[in-house]
């Protein structure tokens, strides 16, 4: 069994439902994403088009992140999923430097590497990944690429020759994440202009930190001796607790 993903970009309408479902299912911290949908505008008005590209871990057959991880925190499961064991991760960020797809992030709550696992915990119990279930147009197709009768295999066969693509094939990572209806401009970040500053929807910018932005280098050494409550997404939903005005915010 080799699990794979296919996204039909002709169907995707950029609703970001998959992004939200992933965040909720996997409790992805604020400011981090296992799956994100990028909007790309191509052409000039009135001949312009907007394209949506969901981006997640490619679960490569020859994964550079698995190879560089010094402690096997990143490892293969029998079904082909590249899984991550956060309890073993030392936080060297080698995987972030090795992944050609920029799919790995440093979890600001645990200070360990994290990424899409194709919802391995759901798959194990026979469910589909959260992003597949939520997609209103069934643009996400998930299944066993080694099984000729699976939906994903049929989809790949039906669209072969007319544009089943993977990102950065020249890297020889053999991704198990396919796209239909994509092109260079949607799949190659070098073919896109990423203008920093305020755009139509948001500010295109860069993260100033990886991992916990409130933790200094010294804190990393003191971390095991701390007993204070950890910050997580639920902290922001504790409405009974009065807001600390001195720290600003809403």
């Amino acid at each position: 069994m080799k699990l794979g993903f296919l996204v039909d970009l002709n169907l995707c309408m950029g609703c970001k439902g998959c992004e939200i479902a992933c965040k909720v299912e996997n409790e992805v911290p604020l400011g981090s994403w296992r799956l994100r949908v990028k909007y790309i505008d191509i052409g000039t008005f009135p001949e312009a088009s907007r394209n949506f590209t969901p981006l997640r871990c490619n679960h490569c057959e020859s994964a550079p992140c698995e190879r560089i991880c010094p402690v096997s925190a990143l490892h293969y499961l029998e079904n082909g999923i590249v899984n991550v064991d956060s309890s073993r991760c030392i936080g060297c960020a080698g995987c972030m430097m090795a992944c050609p797809y920029g799919a790995i992030y440093m979890d600001p709550e645990t200070n360990t590497a994290d990424k899409c696992t194709y919802c391995a915990h759901r798959v194990e119990s026979g469910m589909m990944p959260a992003c597949v279930v939520i997609c209103p147009v069934q643009a996400n197709i998930f299944g066993d690429v080694e099984d000729e009768t699976s939906n994903i295999s049929k989809y790949i066969m039906a669209h072969q020759g007319s544009g089943v693509q993977v990102r950065k094939p020249e890297k020889n990572t053999h991704p198990k994440h396919f796209y239909v209806g994509g092109g260079t401009q949607t799949l190659d970040p070098l073919a896109q202009e990423r203008i920093e500053g305020y755009g139509l929807f948001n500010k295109i910018t860069h993260l100033k930190h990886i991992g916990n932005p409130h933790e200094s280098v010294i804190d990393r050494f003191l971390e095991p001796f701390k007993s204070e409550e950890k910050l997580d997404n639920r902290s922001f939903m504790n409405f009974d607790k009065p807001a600390d005005k001195s720290k600003g915010g809403h």
């Binding site: 790309i40 000039t44 907007r50 402690v71 030392i90 936080g91 080698g94 430097m97 896109q192 202009e193």
Partner: protein, 315 residues
């Protein structure tokens, strides 16, 4: 219109999340730089011992491992500090993953530091007979003084992979195509010879003129080839699209342009001419000045090369 056609092919990112930029920063630069000094003094020291009698370099036997020990500990300290979970470093020894150059390097560097510590203790105690004269451990080490000469050849051979393994880590970091170059290995080796010769220059005041001349020669050759290799990478290499896009940050006078050229001039060009001139004049002050410039320049060059590939969006 043609210009409209060109414009029409441009794709602009109109909505995306903030992406990380520099992930491996100054601590990794310092880590690589300190490792170059730590291994380089052993390599250059071995070369000098091969070429000259021990008596010409009376303090080399104990100061060489001492310098290596100090800089290897700086290297190990910043390796540890850069980890988001420093205490979990032990997992590299408990759960090693041998395909990772980080794992192989950590094991080799730890063994290397252990051997250097033994050399430093034996060399230091032999050079200072009054130090800890009655301590049993010191007595034992003085009694096994010959261990230094037995271990030294192994230490020299181990210094080579220890200095080079970072290039393999760079090669495994396949997202950054600038580092996917055979030149990276040679850059590491030249960096070690440059840093090693520069490090030993500071303790060469009492050495013979010929030994110091050889140090200046190694520094001159190392700066020359380091500069040539950087220029080759910068101007003449035809790289992948991502590699070219990365170099464009420097070519276009971007954020790292000034640092890069400071590194080339301060670190390689000026020390080269200073080292060549002191080979004849034996001007110790000038040679030390060349060594300081070379060490500063090497840090800056490593810093630029480490950071620029991380400026590129990967997805």
């Amino acid at each position: 219109m043609v210009e409209n056609t060109i414009h029409a092919t441009q794709a602009i990112v109109s909505l995306d999340v903030p992406l990380p930029q520099i992930i491996w920063g100054w601590m990794i630069t310092l880590n690589m730089w300190a490792k170059s000094v730590g291994t380089g003094v052993i390599l250059v020291g071995a070369f000098l011992l091969y070429r000259h009698k021990k008596e010409e370099m009376p303090n080399l036997r104990w100061l060489m491992p001492l310098i290596a020990f100090i800089f290897l500990n700086i290297f190990l300290f910043f390796t540890l500090t850069d980890l988001h979970h420093p205490y979990r470093m032990v997992n590299i020894f408990l759960h090693p993953h041998w395909t990772s150059a980080i794992t192989v390097g950590a094991w080799m560097a730890s063994l290397f530091t252990l051997l250097i510590t033994i050399l430093m203790l034996i060399g230091g105690l032999d050079a200072h007979p009054e130090l800890r004269k009655n301590a049993s451990c010191a007595k034992w080490l003085r009694g096994h003084s010959g261990l230094y000469e037995t271990l030294f050849p192994f230490v020299v051979f181990l210094a080579i992979p220890v200095t080079l393994y970072t290039a393999i880590i760079m090669a495994e970091a396949s997202a950054r195509e600038l580092w996917q170059a055979p030149a990276e290995v040679m850059q590491m080796m030249w960096a070690a010879l440059l840093a090693g010769s520069a490090g030993l220059i500071f303790i060469s005041g009492s050495w013979s003129k010929e030994a110091r001349k050889d140090l200046a020669l190694v520094l001159a050759i190392a700066t020359f080839f380091s500069f040539t290799m950087y220029m080759g990478e910068y101007f003449f290499s035809f790289k992948s699209a991502e590699g070219e896009a990365t170099l464009a940050y420097v070519h276009s006078g971007g954020a790292f342009n000034a640092e890069f050229w400071f590194a080339m001039v301060l670190g390689f060009i000026i020390p080269f001419f200073l080292a060549v001139s002191t080979m004849k004049s034996d001007n110790k002050t000038l040679l030390r000045f060349a060594a300081i410039l070379a060490l500063i320049g090497l840090y800056m060059a490593k810093d630029v090369w480490l950071k620029i590939p991380q400026m590129l969006p990967l997805s």
